[in-house]
């Protein structure tokens, strides 16, 4: 009966990130692995959802108001003119928006460029749609984009490039220059840019997130995907969207209808409240996460890490293991669980290159979207180990 599985399904393996979370739960370890907050969602947004349920917003629906609000935001933040009636599809999270975007434009055999390292789910979507993922490695330690390497990766079969900025796992925010380079590639090779901008409001040190869609010649060839999840700490609500030229948005909407039919109705209503949040909300969000980022950097510093790339955005710190550490990423993570009761993610799952680069097994990703109590608890555990000078395997 195993022969009945499609060849696509057989190639897939369980999400390593989810597996680690389960291990952490079993060991009752402090979870700095999976990228969701452990602090509550904003009360007024929860209230809006409760209210929606009570007011019978519980049947299939598509809340046009979300599109109206998003169009306003696109104009205000990026200067983009988006038609809320034709250019936006509401989906079950950015996950579904991305999947629908891929299914909407990828034909069998189309190549899709991805930057390496990257979030593990993109490849699966692309393969499911019959596309071929092609990786362009960002160069450590600063995760720089090599323009020539990028241009060499485009072929006549390239249909799209995926751009996740702010970036998971590195925390990189692609600069305007880098966006220009990518845009040039798209224009020259007539490709589509599919963006994942879920961390768009989480940038640091006065860095601003810019969408590639605002560059010349790009709006007509960009599909923007994003969601409520990270901005409003409601990763479990599954409200996301795709913003694209009308033909693509329409295709995405139609595919979404066949995949899930509707995003959860009461949360669509709550999204209206969320998206109308005052500017202070976003400033506070940024400020709080920046403090957590700084704390996390100190935390790793205290056990011998030398952080070569300071996250410019996202909820993650991606760091190479200390030079003196001879362990691989996986071995280090296991030791960290056993000795310190803290879980992080081994970086190898984010790398896909054919190159046998040693560095791909030398990184760990730490999620700092956790409450102060949790971060302090982690600090305490590390402190105990340092004071006791215990465990040479994780202290350097």
């Amino acid at each position: 009966m195993e022969g009945k599985l499609s060849s696509v399904a057989k190639n897939f393996t369980p999400s390593s990130i989810q597996e680690l979370s389960q291990l952490a739960q079993k060991c009752n370890a402090i979870n700095l692995a999976e990228g969701f907050p452990d602090f509550p969602a904003p009360p007024c947004i929860k209230e809006a959802a409760v209210s929606a349920i009570n007011n019978d917003f519980n049947q299939y629906r598509r809340v046009q108001g979300i599109c109206d609000q998003l169009a306003l935001t696109m104009k205000k933040t990026h200067g983009l003119n988006v038609n809320p009636l034709t250019d936006i599809a509401i989906c079950c999270g950015q996950s579904e928006a991305f999947a629908a975007a891929i299914f909407s434009i990828i034909n069998q055999g189309d190549e899709v460029l991805l930057f390496d390292p990257c979030y593990e789910t993109y490849e699966g979507c692309i393969t499911l749609a019959g596309g071929i993922p092609v990786y362009v490695a960002l160069e450590p330690p600063q995760w720089t984009l090599d323009p020539e390497k990028l241009m060499r990766s485009f072929t006549s079969r390239t249909k799209a490039i995926v751009l996740n900025s702010p970036h998971n796992p590195t925390g990189k925010v692609f600069s305007r220059d880098e966006l220009e380079i990518i845009a040039e590639g798209c224009r020259r090779w007539d490709c589509v840019a599919i963006t994942d901008e879920v961390y768009e409001y989480i940038t640091y040190d006065n860095q601003k997130h810019e969408t590639i869609a605002k560059l010349p010649g790009m709006q007509e060839r960009t599909i923007i995907t994003s969601s409520l999840s990270k901005t409003f700490s409601v990763t479990g609500w599954r409200i996301g969207w795709a913003i694209a030229p009308a033909s693509a948005a329409s295709a995405i909407q139609n595919i979404h209808i066949r995949i899930t039919d509707s995003a959860p109705a009461p949360f669509q209503e709550a999204a209206l409240t969320a998206l109308r949040s005052p500017i202070e909300y976003f400033e506070t969000l940024r400020g709080e996460y920046e403090l957590k980022r700084d704390f996390c950097m100190k935390l790793l510093g205290s056990i011998g890490f030398r952080i070569q790339f300071k996250p410019q955005g996202s909820l993650f710190l991606f760091s190479e293991l200390p030079k003196d550490c001879l362990l691989s990423d996986v071995e280090y993570v296991e030791e960290l669980i056993k000795q310190a009761g803290v879980v992080v993610v081994p970086g190898r799952g984010f790398f896909h290159g054919n190159e046998s680069c040693n560095y791909q097994k030398r990184y760990i990703r730490v999620a700092f979207c956790k409450s102060g109590a949790i971060l302090n608890a982690a600090a305490q555990k590390f402190g105990e180990l340092i004071n006791a000078k215990a465990c040479p395997k994780i202290l350097y």
């Binding site: 190639n11 959802a49 034709t86 936006i88 999947a99 030229p245 033909s247 209808i257 959860p264």
Partner: protein, 469 residues
């Protein structure tokens, strides 16, 4: 972490899915053309697809706009004559669903909507309250991808109660965003491009779309009035060792047919004989009025080859919550889970907690649900008969299919258009549920998942304004 859980590494077929050199087997013939750049999609689709002949009024309705012709409100942007974002060929023909189109027309004409299958009354308080509590308790972050453990357990318990089958909630239950996603994940996870899949027409419209996304070759068997019985001889000649899967929706949308034990037994033996998988959509299982609902998975020898799909929405009048699930033996559940993880990653967390409570509802809830719907059905069916439709018996679901030809309109779409504009009632033209639209041209579907007053008003309007020719 290692990919330790993959237990199929010894299979030779484990190589990355590659379409650069299409297989030379005949099954891939229809798709090798598909790979060529610049291939015109129309001839590809004409060869093994239904003919898309929607009349003009549907084509002009935009899926996203409340206006008939979307008006661009762009400021002056550079004149774009070349549209670089080209929609994938496989999906160019899948435009707005008929449901959206009809609903929009209904609003425009102030018509009573007996078309789209969602209730105009709300779900039970005890389920809504459970969702509210979950939100307040902070259950707002990612759930485990294949389902909140308590919910998986509740699904397994419910399945045992309904079928007697004991299943492992950890390995055999996958939670999805509605049954719609369960279907999509099952197709994408278990169907290879070129695989043959048998569908019974008329069928819920998302089946064909997702089979197309999976690259399947659809073989259609038409169920015909008055009783929409399975044509056994036709089934026997259609099913073969080349068949990968057969999709069964029971109770059946749109006809209300429920597959009998005899029919299921026959299908089962053919599936065992030819090593065929069965995918069942059982979302209306609690709306079984004229006979007991039977799950294919409960027949001897069938559990190991069946994916049983269901959802919360219809049973609890919460269609917008999008909570569904797929039950399958581990080797099939695996494929469903993989595809699911790339389609939506996880399902709405607070709603899963509420659904756990819902599935544990006492028998009285389901008994009352049936009673209420049977009363509604009586109003509609009698009303439709009085108006002059030929009404076909519907054993389950909240749909009933009727023959509209006594009213002299040329086909189902013309009839529905007339019904909205001149009578002020919405029905769904069934031709869209067939591969060959002609098979449905005499039939339209009404729903009775509306409060009694709405049903009575609709019947009154039809009695008043719909005259036999």
């Amino acid at each position: 972490m290692q990919a330790a859980e993959c237990t199929w590494t010894h299979f030779e077929m484990l190589r990355p899915l590659c379409f650069k050199s299409p297989s030379t087997t005949p099954l891939f013939f229809n798709f090798s053309k598909h790979f060529q750049k610049g291939f015109s999609d129309s001839s590809f689709f004409r060869s093994n697809r239904r003919i898309s002949n929607y009349p003009s009024f549907m084509a002009t309705i935009s899926s996203l706009s409340t206006h008939k012709d979307p008006v661009s409100t762009h400021d002056a942007t550079p004149n774009i004559t070349h549209q670089p974002v080209q929609v994938a060929k496989r999906l160019e023909k899948f435009k707005t669903t008929i449901f959206t189109q009809m609903s929009m027309l209904a609003i425009k004409h102030g018509a009573i909507n007996l078309g789209q299958g969602f209730p105009n009354f709300d779900g039970p308080d005890f389920v809504k309250e459970a969702a509210i509590q979950a939100i307040k308790d902070g259950k707002n972050q990612y759930a485990r991808g294949y389902g909140v453990p308590d919910f998986n357990n509740a699904i397994a318990a419910r399945f045992k109660k309904d079928t007697g089958l004991v299943i492992d909630p950890e390995k055999e239950v996958t939670v999805t965003s509605g049954c719609t996603e369960a279907i999509a994940a099952t197709m994408l996870g278990l169907i290879n491009p070129g695989d043959e899949v048998i569908l019974f027409a008329p069928f819920y419209d998302s089946y064909e779309a997702t089979l197309s996304m999976a690259g399947a070759k659809v073989k259609c068997i038409t169920l015909r009035p008055p009783d929409f019985a399975v044509p056994i001889d036709e089934l026997k000649s259609t099913i073969s060792k080349n068949t990968r899967a057969i999709l069964i929706n029971t109770p059946h949308n749109p006809t209300g047919k429920m597959f009998t034990r005899e029919e299921l037994n026959t299908i089962a033996s053919l599936c065992i004989e030819n090593d065929v998988l069965v995918f069942t959509d059982e979302v209306y299982d609690k709306l079984a009025f004229e006979m007991d609902h039977i799950s294919m998975a409960s027949l001897p020898g069938m559990y190991e080859r069946t994916v049983t799909m269901n959802s919360l929405g219809k049973t609890f009048s919460l269609t917008g919550w999008k909570i569904g699930w797929a039950i399958a033996p581990p080797h099939l559940a695996w494929g469903v889970r993989q595809a699911h993880s790339f389609l939506t990653f996880a399902t709405s967390t607070p709603m899963q907690y509420a659904a756990t409570v819902a599935l544990q509802a006492p028998d009285s809830y389901f008994a009352e649900l049936k009673r209420d719907y049977m009363a509604k059905k009586a109003i509609l069916v009698q009303g439709l008969k009085d108006v002059g439709f030929k009404v076909f018996p519907s054993s389950g679901t909240y749909f009933v299919v009727v023959d509209h030809t006594p009213f002299g309109l040329e086909n189902d779409i013309a009839f529905c258009e007339y019904l909205i504009k001149e009578v002020g009632v919405v029905a769904i033209p069934t031709s869209v549920f067939y591969l060959n639209p002609d098979d449905g041209k005499n039939l339209v579907r009404f729903t009775f998942c509306k409060d009694e007053e709405t049903l009575r008003s609709a019947v009154e309007r039809m009695k008043e304004k719909l005259k036999k020719k």
